[in-house]
């Protein structure tokens, strides 16, 4: 652990967990997204003509987040997540000394994904653009990926593991704006290449864990 990290006492850390898991649970109830197919053109809101290169990721600015759940709903709708399943994105609430921060979270498309390493079926792969995707026809549903992911991201439906794929399997071109980031009107959730995100917000902090997530907080 780095020494520069301010000490948190155990009780406040535990309070944070409690709050985080509470929000994760309530997010499912909150969402009313419909599961029916939607005719959306590929070009909606994408960065036009952007030839794609680099590794993609998310930048989240919790102080801008109002917990409006628009990103979660947009994700549910586009990826047709059924109502009885958790969405691929969730808003976690972190609380310390009465101050609350909301963080929109989904797969962090890690540089060294532990989910991919432990998947016995080889169903998880990392595309050239850095997006970590699951092959639903290969997944056997052993749930080892959930145990291995430091963020507990993988979820399961009746067919296979389900998690954020940056909307690419739904038809969004690699590197183009996914629905959740597009839906955020308050500048709390940004998508782009790691270079773009860091250029936009040089002070952003990366999450320190062994899998090297492509996820920044500012």
């Amino acid at each position: 652990m780095s020494n520069s990290m301010p000490a948190i006492d155990r009780r406040s850390a535990l309070k944070i967990i409690a709050a985080a898991s509470l929000t994760a649970g309530s997010a499912c109830i909150f969402v009313t997204g419909s599961a029916h197919a939607e005719e959306e053109t590929e070009e909606t809101g994408v960065k036009k003509n952007a030839p794609f290169s680099g590794r993609v990721g998310f930048l989240v600015k919790p102080e801008n987040c109002l917990n409006c759940q628009a990103c979660v709903e947009a994700c549910r709708k586009f990826n047709k997540t059924s109502k009885d399943r958790p969405a691929r994105r969730k808003i976690a609430k972190y609380e310390k000394d009465g101050e609350a921060l909301y963080v929109s979270m989904s797969c962090m498309h890690c540089e060294e994904p532990s989910c991919m390493a432990v998947c016995p079926a080889g169903a998880i792969s990392k595309a050239e653009d850095g997006v970590v995707i699951v092959d639903k026809d290969r997944c056997i549903g052993c749930k080892y990926c959930y145990q291995a992911c430091p963020f507990g991201v993988p979820q399961y439906n009746s067919v296979a593991m389900d998690k954020c794929d940056c909307c690419t399997l739904g038809g969004t071109r690699p590197g183009n704006m996914p629905r959740c980031a597009e839906a955020c009107k308050f500048g709390a959730l940004h998508f782009g290449t790691v270079e773009e995100l860091l250029a936009q917000c040089p002070e952003a902090k990366v999450i320190e864990t062994s899998t090297k997530p492509s996820f920044y907080l500012a």
Binding site: M1, M5, P6, A7, I8, D9, R10, A13, L14, I16, I17, A20, P62, A92, Y94, K96, E99, L101, V103, M105, S114, A117, V118, C119, P120, A121, G122, R138, C139, I140, G141, C142, K143, Y144, Y146, Q147, A148, C149, P150, F151, G152, Y156, S158, V159, A160, K205, V206, I207, E208, T209, S210, T211, L217, A218
Partner: protein, 323 residues
């Protein structure tokens, strides 16, 4: 059971237990076999069969927990990524089952008589085969025992599991529950056949040594978790939380009664009693110790599984942001 690990249910916990018992029982049976000068023994034969059954049932449980068990059965595809311990383990268990079954056949008079009917040279080769299979089987069994812990160890998100102490604990527990299973079989088979005084002595000494080692490893695991500097990172806080669940929280009654009292103390005392009253015929006290060890070993897998809480590394960054 809120606030406990619940993504993996009872099947994986039982799989880890059965994998361990099966592996341990094979090793214990082979110790008895070699110690007794490789004499034919219905107890050894039954123990090897029981070991194979444990592994097969374990594999079936693992399959039943999958979302698509039918796809899981196509092992060449579903267990094809060898960077995964689940893949390596599944194949090692599979190989162990085959070797255990072959060993059982070598130790089974009727099978040997049937195969060597028209071919007497085959019959002569059987003891050598039994020896080789016994040794290969022991190596595989040891790998299976260690793997049951390594499977959990390779989950970086779960601090209680993500330590080398876990495979150590599960391996020791596998050996000691394996001996227990052989003891139970010996007891059931006592009218037909005794175990041989030297073997009884050896296995009971083994139990004493293993229980002591298990106590040390278990204490090291839980104390290292409980003493993790909870203020420094959320991972450490969750490690401490997992240990607290086991020591004094929701899982504590199960831990102290089933794991510590029944699973460790009872077998230890029983082995001392048996060692003093040593003889060919197994004692009822030995049976009690063995049953305690089996229950304790099973409870241990469930408790470790349930207490495997996920850490959230995002919290540490949030704490930095909040200043």
């Amino acid at each position: 059971m809120e606030g406990l690990q619940n993504v993996w249910g009872w099947q994986p916990a039982l799989y880890l237990f059965l994998g361990g018992v099966g592996a341990g029982a094979f090793i214990a049976a082979m110790v008895a076999y070699f110690k007794n000068g490789q004499k034919k023994s219905s107890t050894v034969f039954a123990s090897v069969c029981a070991a194979a059954v444990c592994l097969v049932v374990g594999l079936l449980l693992l399959l039943s927990e999958l979302i698509t068990p039918a796809r899981g059965l196509m092992m060449w595809q579903s267990f094809s990524n060898f960077s995964s311990w689940m893949t390596i383990g599944a194949w090692v268990v599979f190989a162990a089952v085959i070797v255990f079954v072959l060993e059982a056949l070598c130790l089974w008079d009727r099978a040997v008589a049937f195969v060597s009917k028209g071919n007497s040279s085959f019959g002569e080769a059987v003891p050598a085969m039994a020896r080789v299979l016994g040794i290969v089987g022991c190596v595989l069994a040891f790998c299976v025992a260690a793997y049951t812990g390594i499977l959990l160890m390779s989950a970086p998100g779960v601090p209680l599991w993500n330590t080398i102490l876990l495979p150590c604990l599960f391996t020791v527990s596998a050996l000691d529950t394996g001996i227990a299973l052989v003891e139970v079989i010996t007891f059931v088979n006592r009218k037909k056949e005794g175990m041989g005084e030297a073997t009884v002595l050896l296995l009971n000494r083994g139990v004493v040594a293993l229980v002591v080692v298990e106590l040390v490893v278990l204490a090291a695991l839980l104390i290292s978790m409980a003493m993790a500097p909870a203020g420094e990172s959320h991972t450490a806080a969750v490690a401490a939380q997992s240990a607290a669940l086991i020591f004094q929280g929701e899982l504590a009654p199960w831990f102290w009664i089933l794991v510590v009292a029944l699973g460790l103390a009872v077998p230890l005392v029983a082995s001392f009693v048996t060692l003093r009253a040593s003889g060919e015929k197994p004692h009822i006290v030995g049976l009690a110790g063995a049953m305690g060890a089996l229950i304790g070993g099973c409870a241990l897998r469930f408790i470790i599984m349930l207490a495997g809480l996920h850490a959230d590394p995002v919290i540490d960054t949030i704490v930095q942001l909040m200043g």
